[in-house]
């Protein structure tokens, strides 16, 4: 639970919704992201 202090530093920051936070640790979704990130990184490696 994020406590927002009016005019404090974190008052203006974008914070993830409950869905976003759960997807970040959802095993099936993250397995898919694992593949995607690895492909992105390999593409980067191949560029030099």
């Amino acid at each position: 639970m994020i406590v927002r202090n009016p005019f404090g530093q974190n008052y203006y920051a974008a914070v993830p919704t409950k869905l976003t936070r759960s997807l970040r640790v959802n095993l099936i979704w993250q397995l898919f992201r694992f593949l995607v990130i690895n492909i992105k990184m390999l593409r980067m490696v191949r560029k030099h």
Binding site: Q30, K40, M44, H48
Partner: protein, 485 residues
């Protein structure tokens, strides 16, 4: 027969040595001079700093690896370079001083045909009064520093378990620091550990850095496409800090670190203090202090090295304003402009200027990050330099042909934000190019197709995998070349 001498056995030095050895026939010699007996996978030191790994998990003995690879290993530190030889001899050499227990303190002149300087940085704790593990703050730059940091972190956690409130301060210990990414990883691993130990409510976790804004990371940050917008990395970095309840101080130049208080100056010129119970503050880097002498023994250190102690290479070091900076300023072959058989890679080469826009406070103190040149880019430039030297030794080329400019190189970076295989997270970032090119990419300075960032468990899996993959590679185990830099 030719001799390639490599100073330093870190990520760049090890990469250069293994690739050069593979490319050169055994009539040629590859020598590595490094003061350490162990190789260290530095990115995982942050996990040593939170007790998740031990020193032996992030290090291994260098001697057996060099022996099986056919590389001569001298456990010593380099003191000076004589690129023109000495007296009647024109054979260049490096003066070294052994650090191994058997020959400690003995000096020797090691001749070379080609030299790669990959000495890495000197951890310049003396730049800030009271900074460093021998004084009033901790560090995760080496396994021993990280072990000590963890010891004191655990003490803080024990106090919290007894009901005491603790303030944990993490960040950079000087206005010119680099490697904000390492401190970033540490603060989020600490925060994760506090939640795991059920003491998060007892801790005030605070970030301090010389970045102009969060998410700068010494690269001026980066822009990514997300949710229909092009947003700066500041947005997702601030988001992570807010989500985890971490407050931040930016634009700060620490002036004095005391036992429980840090005095710092801001970009506005204000003098402020912050109190803490535990502080992990990274030091600024400088060159390791190598000297250089010409044939008659005159000091030519300024010819080879920049005032920072890093080696001058084929970069454009003409003083320029931020508006005049160009991607062409950055080196391509890492060859010394004066001595063509000398190269410098990794942190050891002198960058032409920063990547983040320089800022100076009203008291004349520069407060901005110096450019990071560790990890993946460091390995790539070391490989290319090793290939170029091998080509020249093998008679395939007269000069370096392969280039590895940071202005035409991408990077992938995984920053751990909590280490656990089921509920850990890491920030996975890719960017291209590392040096922004606003002529080619006017929108954001980088290719938005290749510049990405996301947070999730997958990043932790990759970070964990890379830990083992890079140690496997550095040990020169079978098929090590399959693992990319």
């Amino acid at each position: 027969m030719a001799r390639l001498l490599i100073l330093g056995g870190g990520i760049a030095g090890q990469t250069a040595a293994l690739h050069a050895r593979k490319k050169l026939g055994h009539q040629h010699e590859v020598i590595v001079v490094t003061p350490n007996s162990k190789w260290n996978w530095i990115p995982s030191n942050i996990w040593v700093g939170v007790g998740m790994m031990k020193t032996e998990d992030v290090t291994f003995d260098l001697a057996p690896v060099y022996k099986k690879s056919g590389i001569t290993y001298l456990q010593a530190k380099a003191l000076s370079i004589n690129p023109e030889g000495e007296g009647s001899s024109s054979t260049p050499f490096v003066t070294i001083e052994y650090t191994s227990p058997e020959k400690k303190g003995v000096t020797e002149k090691v001749k070379y045909d080609y030299l790669i300087n990959s000495t890495g940085p000197k951890l310049n704790f003396d730049a800030t009064k009271g900074l460093g593990p021998e004084k009033n703050s901790y560090s995760v730059c080496t396994p021993s520093h990280a072990t000590e940091a963890n010891h004191h972190l655990q003490e803080s956690i024990q106090r919290m378990k007894k009901g005491e409130k603790q303030t944990l301060l993490v960040g950079t210990g000087h206005g010119s620091c680099t490697c904000q990414g390492a401190a970033f990883e540490y603060i989020f691993n600490v925060e994760y550990l506090l939640r795991k130990e059920n003491v998060r409510d007892k801790a005030n976790v605070l970030w301090i850095s010389n970045e102009n804004e969060l998410g700068d990371f010494g690269m001026g940050g980066m822009h990514i496409k997300r949710g229909g917008y092009i947003t700066h990395s500041r947005v997702f970095t601030e988001s992570l800090y807010a989500e985890r309840g971490i407050d931040w101080i930016t634009q700060a130049h620490p002036k004095e670190v005391e036992k429980t208080q840090l005095s710092y100056e801001t970009l506005d010129g204000e003098e402020k203090t912050v109190s803490y119970d535990f502080a992990m503050l990274l030091p600024p880097f400088s060159g390791v202090g190598l000297k250089a002498y010409n044939k008659v023994g005159e000091d030519i250190t300024p010819t080879l090295f920049a005032p920072s102690g890093f080696m001058k290479v084929d970069a454009d070091y003409t003083p320029k304003t931020y508006e005049q900076w160009s991607p062409k300023d950055w080196p391509e072959t890492y060859q010394s402009p004066v001595y063509k058989n000398i190269f410098a890679v990794g942190i050891a080469f002198a960058p032409p200027h920063a990547i983040s826009k320089p800022t100076v406070n009203p008291n004349g103190i520069p407060i901005f990050p110096t450019p990071p040149r560790t990890g993946m880019p460091s390995g790539v430039m070391a490989r290319q330099v090793a290939f170029n030297i091998a080509d020249m030794i093998n008679g395939k080329a007269d000069e370096p042909t392969r280039k590895a400019s940071l202005a035409r190189m991408g990077a992938a970076c995984i920053a751990s934000a909590g280490a656990n295989m089921l509920n850990g997270t890491a920030v996975s970032m890719t960017m291209y190019p590392i040096i922004p090119d606003f002529e080619k990419y006017p929108e954001a300075g980088r290719d938005l197709h290749y510049t990405t960032g996301e947070i999730g468990l997958a990043g932790h899996w990759i970070k964990f995998l890379l830990h083992y993959a890079f140690i496997y590679k550095a040990k020169a185990n079978p098929f090590w070349r399959v693992v990319p830099e």
